[in-house]
């Protein structure tokens, strides 16, 4: 290993909301890559295979553990989307002042949770 600081170098930084958002962004994104994309393939593959295969999919994903996984995936998506939009703002050079940065960090975490709740409310109610 090179004898110099390498990212993400978790051990020496004081925790702040920006750091939590960054870590959540990676966990949610990589979590979706490992869990949501295979499930997406199972979903379209089952739909392409016929009613029996789709029935297996819905009975597994409609069970309590399945729904917990789906809620987790939907949170991962909305969280990653919210902190991703924050990244776009940072990419144009805005939002680096400490107070602004803190506010939008907390905002993106809150946005991920609120959008997840709205999504499931829509699924249950519509």
């Amino acid at each position: 290993m090179a004898n110099r600081p390498l990212s993400p170098h978790l051990s020496i930084w004081k925790w702040g909301p920006h750091m939590a958002v960054s870590i959540l962004h990676r966990i949610a994104g990589d979590g979706m890559a490992f869990l949501a994309l295979p499930l997406f393939l199972w979903w379209v593959g089952a739909l392409a295979s016929g009613p029996e295969a789709y029935g297996t999919f819905t009975s597994v994903m409609g069970s309590i553990p399945g729904i917990v996984v789906l809620v987790g995936i939907s949170w991962a998506f909305f969280n990653h989307m919210s902190s991703g939009i924050r990244h776009f703002v940072l990419d144009i050079g805005a939002g680096y002042e400490i107070e602004t940065n803190k506010r939008w960090s907390y905002g993106s975490i809150a946005s991920g949770i609120i959008l997840t709740a709205v999504f499931w409310a829509a699924i249950v109610l519509i």
């Binding site: 290993m1 090179a2 390498l6 990212s7 993400p8 990676r26 994104g29 990589d30 979706m32 890559a33 994309l37 295979p38 997406f40 393939l41 379209v44 593959g45 739909l47 392409a48 295979s49 016929g50 009613p51 789709y54 029935g55 819905t58 939907s74 998506f77 989307m81 991703g84 939009i85 990244h87 776009f88 990419d91 999504f119 829509a122 699924i123 519509i126």
Partner: protein, 137 residues
Amino acid sequence: MGQKTSLERYGNKGTALGHVRGLGSAHGGTHHWLLQRFTAVGNLLLVGFLVISLALLPNYSYATVRSWMEQPVPAAALALICVNTFWHARLGLQVLIEDYLDQPGSKLAALVALNVAVFGGAAFGIVSIARIAFGAA
């Protein structure tokens, strides 16, 4: 006066930029960075469409979901999702591998496996959606 030239400051190692270029864990990355943003914009639109469509479906029975997916716009969006999300995931996991795998051999092996997985996954998804869209099953 007093300003040193790059040659005086860094000797024969070139400019300040040349001194540090390529030292990151990935040894490069502007193109990767841009592609990650381009695919992120695509994901925002495409997965946003999928999420809203799923929320608006009256139920998730085989017949309901199939008849939604058979339509040209949802089928095209889902096929694009297969390209765009897997591409974006490939870029993101590549960074994860570069950050956490230090040995060049295991890093290369992980990147090879990643490429096989994402191309295979995207192809499987597109073929499945095409079968549904063209009414093959």
